[in-house]
């Protein structure tokens, strides 16, 4: 028998159960009610808007956080956003996997000693103190006050910085400031590539 015939015949086979709503008390539809839980949870969730972290279309999304556990449990397109009106591509639709729900997210400060074959967990204090120390040491050693022509240039060319168009504008601006304040000239990021 062709499958098509099934479609036409099905009315004769009995149409199963027509549910009149959630109130129906039937063991078989337990899963049906369970499926409603996420939709119900949205109603009591703490919701906030964000913007997608991939291309530059600037699609809006809504993050939903369970107030009791503090956990984020849903991220989807913001239907009120005028650019995407709720729509998202594969990457945007999967933004939830950028959250800590993803076991691969980095959450600890890591350090690798010269010649070591592994990362080790360290504290922010250790890392920031050591990085500042390394910057200062190299900067003080290699700082160029004047170029060959005798012009004041106040720069350091043995330090460089890249990034990032993946952080927010205020952070970008602070990064620029950080690098220029130290005298960096090797400053670049994804905008050029």
């Amino acid at each position: 028998m062709k499958r098509r015939t099934f479609l036409k015949m099905s009315c004769c086979l009995g149409a199963g159960l027509a549910l009149s709503g959630l109130g129906l008390d039937l063991g078989a539809v337990k899963a049906y009610a369970a499926d409603m839980k996420k939709a119900d949870a949205l109603k009591t969730a703490a919701q906030s808007t964000t913007i997608c972290c991939y291309c530059s279309v600037g699609c809006g999304l809504i993050c939903s956080v369970d107030k009791a556990s503090g956990k984020i449990f849903n991220i989807e397109g913001d239907p009120e956003h005028p650019i995407n009106e709720g729509a998202l591509c594969a990457k945007g639709a999967g933004l939830y996997q950028v959250s800590v729900a993803n076991e691969h997210r980095l959450t600890k400060v890591q350090y690798r000693k010269p010649g070591s074959d592994k990362w080790e967990q360290v504290s922010w204090d250790f890392a920031l103190n050591r990085i500042a120390e390394l910057i200062k040491k190299e900067r003080d050693k290699s700082f160029i006050t004047k170029n060959e022509k005798g012009e004041v240039v106040n720069r350091v060319q043995t330090l460089s910085l890249m990034g990032s168009s993946n952080v927010l504008s205020e952070e970008c601006w602070a990064t620029t400031q950080f690098a220029r304040g130290l005298g960096y000239t090797y400053i670049d990021h994804q905008a050029r590539v």
């Binding site: 499958r3 099905s10 009149s20 239907p79 939830y96």
Partner: protein, 214 residues
């Protein structure tokens, strides 16, 4: 009584971005499958108990020409008006929601004859979890619909998917097909009178997917 809900999938507008495919996984909390690159953009290869929404990619050359075509078929359960798969449901393992018309597989489907459910489906949709034996597929996001939201795939789609009252969607499908026919004589809305998820194609349905049409 309302005629329930419908979804229109206008493949002529689909760009194959797969927002729908991932949005479905996100909303339903479905795990990813371990896949490999087999020489196609289409992945996972097929529906499974973890994949209810799948964009099928079909490519070839236009008749008598070197010009390629690339069709995207955002496949899902059609939520038949009279679902043939219910033949496998003896004790309400498969239910049809009156308000939306959504065809819903409950956990009790672990007790049904899976081959009968799958074999009776003209679109080859139901899939079984090999461990739990539960049979599953798209739920039309009836949970979202009842909360006043669009199905996850429809919300995510930038171009091709529409959702609404069945009569409105049928009317929209008719208008779209009329418009498309001016350029594509083969344009049609597949099995529109029998299904709630109506696909518009501009070419022979078989070129999109073996089970595009009943």
């Amino acid at each position: 009584m309302s005629d329930g809900k419908s979804i229109l999938v206008d493949t002529s507008r689909c760009t194959g971005c797969r927002g729908c495919q991932v949005a479905c996984k996100q909303w339903n909390g479905l795990a990813a499958e371990q896949t490999t690159q087999r020489g196609t953009y289409q992945n996972p290869p097929d529906f499974s108990h973890q994949t209810y929404k799948l964009v099928r990619f079909a490519e070839g050359k236009r008749e008598g020409s070197r010009e390629p075509y690339w069709y995207f078929f955002s496949d899902m359960c059609r939520h038949c008006v009279n679902p043939p798969c219910m033949v496998a449901s003896e004790n309400n393992e498969i239910v049809q929601d009156e308000e939306t018309g959504a065809v819903i597989y409950t956990e009790a489907t672990k007790n049904i004859d899976f081959e009968m459910a799958r074999g009776s489906c003209p679109y080859n949709v139901p899939r079984q979890n090999p461990e739990t034996k539960v049979v599953s597929k798209c739920t039309m996001c009836f949970d979202r619909i009842k909360s006043g939201m669009k199905p996850a795939c429809v919300l995510a789609c930038p171009t091709a998917l529409d959702f609404g009252e069945r009569e409105d969607i049928l009317k929209l499908a008719e208008e779209r097909v009329a418009e498309l026919k001016k350029v594509y004589p083969k344009a049609k809305a597949i099995d529109a009178e029998d299904v709630r998820v109506i696909f518009i194609v501009t070419d022979d349905p078989k070129k999109y997917h073996e089970f595009a049409e009943a």
